[in-house]
Symmetry: C2
Subunit: 122 residues, 2 copies
């Protein structure tokens, strides 16, 4: 096969067949970007702790700040990120804003992640 060389890689691509196979199954760029975006939101210790707390109960900002031992401001900033990612929702009652999980997928994703992390024997 003569066209085994590609500029992109600037080196010899070895497995032409595999490449074609994989190229056909790549989802829309948009989808994978969104998935990465979702994981990026989950990929912060403060936010995972917030979400984990919300697995247990609906909570207001001040409660969360106390439980996590962090400032109200940083919790508030992170809740905004979580909300934009549609991971949490909120309802307002007077001065107080209560946050809770937006849907059940989040917990499933976490469960899988816990399983992976707890697999130290491999």
């Amino acid at each position: 096969m003569t066209d085994e060389k590609f500029e992109m890689c600037s080196q010899t691509t070895i497995h032409h067949d595999v490449i074609q196979q994989v190229q056909q199954t790549i989802p829309k760029d948009e989808t994978l970007t969104e998935v990465a975006e979702l994981f990026k939101v989950l990929g912060d210790r403060t936010r995972t702790r917030i979400l984990h707390a919300l697995f247990e109960a609906e909570m207001c900002v001040c409660d969360l700040a106390y439980v996590l031992g962090m400032t109200q401001s940083s919790i508030s900033h992170q809740l905004r990120v979580l909300k934009q990612a549609k991971l949490v929702k909120n309802r307002k009652e007077g001065k107080v804003v209560y946050y809770s999980l937006a849907d059940h997928h989040v917990k499933h994703i976490f469960d899988q992640a816990f399983q992976h992390v707890n697999e130290d024997r491999n």
Copy 2:
């Protein structure tokens, strides 16, 4: 109740009972940090694309570089990150290093993530 005020929050904590309930179920700090760490690794477009490609087939570095249209160097850097997180494994065959998924959890996590992303109606 007199001890409803806490320094940590510097404001009035409203839901004493909820806080106690949540505090008892917080997992070891270490565990949640590891989970966040895992998500952080998944939270990059290049790495999600690499993993997605590996869902289909075992691939060498040069193949991946070509499929994703990126330099060999950046793919190699990211594969190292993925390997440290135990998300991929590799085997060597002469000059060529083949990468593949380390375990099946990764795909499950992705499936859940896709579901979440595809829920635009909510």
